[in-house]
């Protein structure tokens, strides 16, 4: 059993179908003890089929178990095994029940950090958050929450999902460590002694963290923005 990080940020990973990239990084982050969920921004879950123009399409919410059964019962089962599809769904069904759609995730609560795995998904998340701000009025006792959205561009295949997942884990760790340090220092100092410091506030340093991470991950391109729920 993995030990949970008590002061973890509330994180979610997002890709198009909530199967490969977001699920791989979901797994890696979960295994490291972080509080993580995952979503897809596509209109439906699209998985490779017998040919490029015949994908397997499922509704978001279809349990991985069902998808697994469906794929293993098809004639192309051997092909799905050799291209890693079966393995992927098998992994997914041990992580959570079903792929979830980003646009309908109000039930999941608000995240501190959203990590998307493709520029299209990044745009979709930012756009959706704008729509939500306009369309979902909040009650008088509610306050909107700021959310950091980071895109780490990952090619949609098995191997790259693993490499990308490692990169995401490293980035989350860097942000987490910084925030932990910030909390510690805020606790340490009483009153106004920290005034004038450059390096205690996460938001003041997020760009530096991203640059440092990017230096070691030049093949994983990034985007970043702040939005609100």
């Amino acid at each position: 059993m993995v030990e949970k990080i008590e002061d973890s940020l509330k994180i979610c990973t997002v890709c198009a179908s909530n199967n490969n990239r977001s699920m791989e990084s979901h797994k890696q982050l979960r295994d490291a003890g972080f509080d993580v969920q995952s979503f897809g921004t596509g209109s439906a879950v699209r998985l490779p089929g017998p040919s490029i123009d015949k994908p397997n399409v499922y509704e978001f919410g279809t349990p991985y178990e069902e998808i697994y059964q469906d794929l293993t019962s098809q004639d192309c089962r051997k092909m799905y095994e050799s291209n890693g599809l079966i393995h992927m769904i098998d992994r997914n069904r041990h992580i959570k029940k079903a792929p979830e759609k980003w646009h309908e995730n109000v039930y999941a609560g608000k995240f501190d950090l959203v990590i998307t795995c493709e520029e299209r998904c990044f745009d979709s998340v930012l756009d959706d958050l704008m729509v939500r701000m306009v369309s979902n009025p909040i009650a008088d006792n509610e306050v909107r929450k700021a959310v950091h959205v980071i895109n780490v561009d990952i090619k949609d295949d098995n191997e790259n999902a693993i490499i990308g997942g490692r990169g995401i884990l490293k980035l989350v760790k860097m942000i987490h460590e910084f925030r932990r340090e910030e909390m510690k220092r805020l606790k340490e100092v009483n009153g106004d002694k920290y005034v004038g410091e450059h390096d205690i506030i996460l938001e003041d340093n997020i760009m530096k963290i991203l640059v440092n991470w990017q230096k070691d991950h030049t093949h994983l391109q990034t985007l970043y923005g702040v939005s609100y729920y």
């Binding site: 520029e119 990044f122 745009d123 930012l126 756009d127 958050l129 704008m130 729509v131 701000m133 306009v134 369309s135 979902n136 009025p137 909040i138 008088d140 006792n141 509610e142 306050v143 909107r144 700021a146 950091h148 805020l186 100092v189 009483n190 009153g191 106004d192 002694k193 920290y194 005034v195 004038g196 410091e197 450059h198 390096d199 205690i200 506030i201 996460l202 938001e203 003041d204 997020i206 760009m207 530096k208 991203l210 640059v211 990017q214 230096k215 030049t218 391109q221 990034t222 985007l223 970043y224 923005g225 702040v226 939005s227 609100y228």
Partner: protein, 742 residues
Amino acid sequence: MSSIITQLEQAKSLAFSNKSTFPQVLSQVLKLSTNPDIEVQKWCAKFFKDSFTSSNDVLGITDKIDLAIDALDSLLFLLEVKNLEIFKDSVETAIVVYKLVFKYVVENDGCKDVWVKLNQIIQNLLSKYKSSFPLDHIDEESDLRRAIDCKIELMKFIVLVIDYGSPNQPQSNSNGNGKKKLVIRNQFNLDDVPSNHTLIIPSVLEKQSYNHLDVILSVFNQDILVTPLITASLSHLSVIVSKKSSHFISKILNTLESYDTQRKNQSNYETVEEFKLSRKYIDRSLKVFFSYVLRNQLAPTPQMSQWINKKLNLLISRGDEIRKKNILAPSSQDSNIKKRKFEGGFVNVSKKLKTADYKNLYSLQDPSNELNNFDLTTLPQHILISMTLNSLNKVSVERLTKALNIIVDRYKNTLNDPKFQRQAAKKGGDNWIKNEYGDENDEDDDDDDEDDDDADREGSNEDDYSETVFTLPPPKELSFEEKKSHVNIIIKNFFRLSEKPVNDGGANVDPIAESDKTGVDSELTRIAIKSWKKDSWLILLTRLATRGMRGVDGDEEGGDFKQNENISNIIRKALFDHFLDNIHSRIDLIIEWLSEEWYSEKVFNEDKLIEELREKHSNDEAKVQQELSQATIPTPLYNDWTGKVLDAMIPFLEPNDRKIFIRLLSDLPYLNGELVDRIKSLCFDPVRSKIGFLSLQFLIMYRPPVKDACIGILEELSKSDQEDLREESEKLLKKYKPETVA
């Protein structure tokens, strides 16, 4: 945990478990918020936030409204406390309180006090958005880039005020193209306020809101990129462009039309990599925003849609271009990036040390700057001294004072920090900042009857540190032998230095231009070495020999003068020997040295002569000048050393050294017959006689003062018994003094 906080915790759990006692507890805690203990204030701020944002099942809405009104004073107080946690919690509370109180005022016309206080909070928070509150002010640029989390919170409040303070646009049911229409749901609409309300006058509020929008938009007018803030602003602006009337939308879009990340500057507080990433990130958020505006047909005019479309395409192609490359890799376009003008702050102004050592105490640079790892102790001491003196010469008094004040604060903070005191006691190493005052204080406590002076100095509290005067012991006079050995060390160091590679990067462009602005006398900034170059050591060494050792009083008979002259000659000999080691590559060096030698000697002797003439003519300046213009200023030292150089050089000249020798003759500042006479020996040597004659010819043509001397040599040679000599010299004489040959 202090007892008061323990009690507060108990009260809190009581409140959250019992709806009926909550109002009572909260109103009691409101009174406590002005408690001077920062921990209590922190606790209160957090409790207020938790209370007002709790669901109405925990604390009833009627009670919440009453308590929100009561909370205005506490909020005004807490929003002034310079503490990150208190400020952020209080801004969240202010957001809920604003919504509750605004609606209360709408329904209860006449409660002017409440309305005034609410507006006070608005003004208070608007002004803080432009500062680095609750962090200290450093300089404008740094303030823009700090306390961003607070600004992200504040933005929510300001956008809320704009939203409540301006009417919403009526929505059309269809946007005509059959696409899914953006659903807008409002929390509140200014149009719902009764038209005869005496406090809330919609037109006034709308105008104010329109002005508040400038505060949000200010981030786009800055010349640097503050990525989290800009992207957060774009997210919030989507609310305004979706709901508000066209003059609000136009204002926003007009600002964004002229906005271009390519025209912004790199901040002094960020690396070029950070700047490049920022541009990419912001461009993408802009793209998302513009797509949102177009998709929902929010642009008030077709012209606006047109330029948004254009801009969108530009941003997309820019993004595609960047994606192809490694954005962090240096590129040729990096040279187009301009840095914002530095206002003269320091990058690292932290007044608290993370590690209590001298390196951290004095460093004002970015802690991640690699220069911090350079070990200055590897440089010879005299270089350090000259660097320090140069820097002190150039720095403005204001800037130095500012820097020293930061260091004083750090010192004080560290000495007062019990954590560091313990560490220092444990480590006790040299690098640890010594508690020169604190330790002795302890002793004073035990023995109050210490010596008075000591008690005055050491017993004083930290505020008096700056008054302590430290005097170095007077230097001991060196004996001549000691001076000689030191000069030898200096010379040795210089020559060692001359072999070291020097980075002639030329980063240090024009220190003079900068110091001029600070009002420092320009004479002070006129210096021989503006930046250390490969041959800078030569300037220092020749000046030391010529000017540095000359007695100020000019007493030529005194023992000091002779001793100094002696030391000068040691340096000259060293330079001379250095030259002899490699005549061919060090000709520049020798010219520079002899030029300096001649110049300083001439200036010195001229001054001496003027003095004498003034005495002779009893200060009649006209006579002095007249006689001075006729006088020849002797330069015996120069003549002597130039002679030595020529004597040493001539025997070693090779037939193909023609160029360097003529170069020397051409560049030496002064020549006379005696010096030129040395060329004669060259002419006698059959192998090198060509150089000799060529030199004489050159001097006749280009150095008229020695023309006669050279002709004299030729005449002498023309009487020689060697035929080739005779022939060659007669040829030249025929050309330059035909009458002698004829």
